[in-house]
């Protein structure tokens, strides 16, 4: 079946180390981490990726008070993406715009806050806010975008654990191919650092990063890695059909040429490298490419001892013999932005198509032999032998794997 070609024409992001693509890219090339310590109810001081974008840029204070952090991040990113795309937004038919936001989870923050709130009133449930349900419905972040931007097309969130960023992009591309919309605002978002339960859950699982220096806490592939740095963030793309983008003379970041989402069907937490490899292979097949056609592999690795090793097995299986590919990891800079991770990590790599560089993986002081890959870029950026394709991995709990391939438009 011949599908319409789908391209990326705009990027809006909020990352712990940058509020726009230029700042994000600059910090990735300069080796600057965005992880800091934050104080958390019940948990205390934890390393976390905290975003510092101007939330009042596109929202009033009342809207901020009523809405959620995930909604606010999504609104910021969506506006920035549209502005970056150069679209004539005022004239665009808003009923033909779809909003597809990937989320790892949603509602934990708001529910925890309300339980804490009523604990201050002797658990009088009459003090439970009437804003709770609109804040916690699963479409909240995407819905807040539509209300803020007066978009009347479809909106919903894609719940896909930590594969959600990629999954939101895939959903947007598919809706464009089906002709359901003419513009997709697609990507992922996370507000998870506002939930103590997320930290406590990882801690109980033995998977929460600890380090005296927060900027060193996220260290995928390093021997001393000890878990995940939880982060917030967002990344929304404007996706269009290639023909539409070319007709309006749009700047094109790249084409979504291949993707796959599959399931391990084995364990809720432990990844399955065989299925991850299958996922990458299926994305390559869709793109009509072989491993040697890929220039950058953007890994998912989160800094957990088991997870990183498993992904390396899968990456080696596919790319072990590919001498020209370069492999990196963006979580080493920003921690694990959960639902936003896949979308943010792809965005951090996209400028390689124009600057010809690949940003490194930082915090590898002593590589774990189980994670050693000769194509892994560490410490310093490298000049790419070729900069035309990126394969972006994003995996999540309950055994969900996602992989996207983006190709430079000549």
């Amino acid at each position: 079946m011949q599908h319409a070609r789908v391209v990326i024409t705009g990027i809006g992001l909020a990352s712990p180390n940058g509020d726009n693509l230029a700042a994000f890219r600059s910090n990735l090339l300069a080796g600057i981490s965005g992880v800091e310590f934050m104080e958390h109810r019940y948990i205390g001081k934890v390393p976390a990726g905290v975003c510092h974008f101007d939330a009042l840029k596109y929202q009033g204070r009342k809207e901020l008070r009523i809405g959620t952090r995930a909604g606010s991040i999504s609104i910021y990113c969506a506006h920035e993406a549209v502005a970056d795309s150069g679209l004539n937004w005022e004239a665009f038919d808003k009923s033909r715009v779809g909003v597809y936001v990937g989320i790892t989870e949603h509602g934990n923050v708001e529910t925890e806050n309300e339980v804490y709130n009523i604990s201050q009133f002797n658990y009088d449930v009459r003090c439970w806010t009437h804003h709770h349900n609109p804040r916690t419905v699963a479409n909240n972040p995407a819905g807040e975008v539509t209300m803020n931007m007066k978009i009347t097309g479809p909106h919903y969130c894609i719940g896909a654990a930590c594969a959600a960023g990629n999954s939101g992009i895939v959903q947007g591309a598919q809706m464009l191919q089906l002709g359901e919309v003419d513009l997709a605002l697609a990507g992922g978002v996370s507000e998870s650092i506002r939930s103590f339960g997320i930290f406590a859950g990882f801690k109980s699982q033995g998977a929460l990063a600890e380090n005296a220096d927060p900027t060193k806490a996220s260290r995928p592939f390093d021997k001393a890695r000890n878990g995940i740095v939880v982060s917030e963030g967002g990344c929304i793309y404007t996706l269009e059909r290639l023909e539409d983008a070319q007709n309006r003379g749009a700047k094109i970041y790249g084409e979504l040429v291949g993707w796959c989402i599959n399931s391990d069907a084995t364990d809720a937490v432990l990844p399955n490298p065989a299925r991850q490899a299958e996922c990458m292979r299926a994305a390559l097949n869709m793109a009509g490419m072989s491993a040697d056609d890929i220039d950058i592999v953007s890994t998912h690795a989160t800094g957990t001892p088991a997870g990183d090793t498993q992904e390396c097995h899968a990456v080696r299986e596919i790319f072990g013999a590919s001498k020209n590919v370069r492999i990196n990891n963006t979580k080493s800079f920003i921690g694990h932005a959960m639902g936003a991770a896949g979308a943010l990590e792809l965005a951090g790599n996209l400028p390689s198509f124009s600057d010809g560089l690949v940003h490194p993986t930082i915090n590898i002081d002593d590589i774990d032999p189980e994670c050693a890959m000769e194509q892994l870029v560490t410490r310093q950026p490298q000049k790419l032998p070729r900069a035309e394709t990126i394969l972006n991995n994003s995996f999540g709990m309950l055994g969900i794997n996602s992989c996207i391939i983006v190709k430079k438009i000549a």
């Binding site: 009033g60 009342k62 009523i66 009459r126 003090c127 009437h130 804003h131």
Partner: protein, 86 residues
């Protein structure tokens, strides 16, 4: 508490609920919804803040009595004073 003090309490609550509104221009005898961007959810917020901050419970049947600053003062001042003497 006087009625004027009661109005200040209500305005303080509204300033937190609708922080972008200019409350200097509020006319006490005009319905709040006719001069401010307040919807039904905002009025529920006012009721909630009265409960949480001052222990005043406004039954649904009495919400109409919170329509203007003057009517708020008329209705709430005795309730505030009753709390003080309780």
């Amino acid at each position: 508490m006087t009625k004027e003090e009661c109005k200040k309490v209500v305005l303080k609550i509204i300033s937190e609920i609708a922080p972008d509104e200019n409350l200097d221009i509020v006319k006490p005898n005009v319905r709040l919804r006719d001069q401010l961007e307040l919807d039904s959810m905002d009025f529920l917020d006012i009721v909630m803040e009265l409960r949480k901050k001052y222990g005043i419970n406004v039954p649904e049947a009495d919400y109409i009595k919170l329509a203007s600053l003057d009517s708020c003062a008329e209705y709430l001042t005795p309730l505030f004073n009753r709390l003080k003497t309780a």
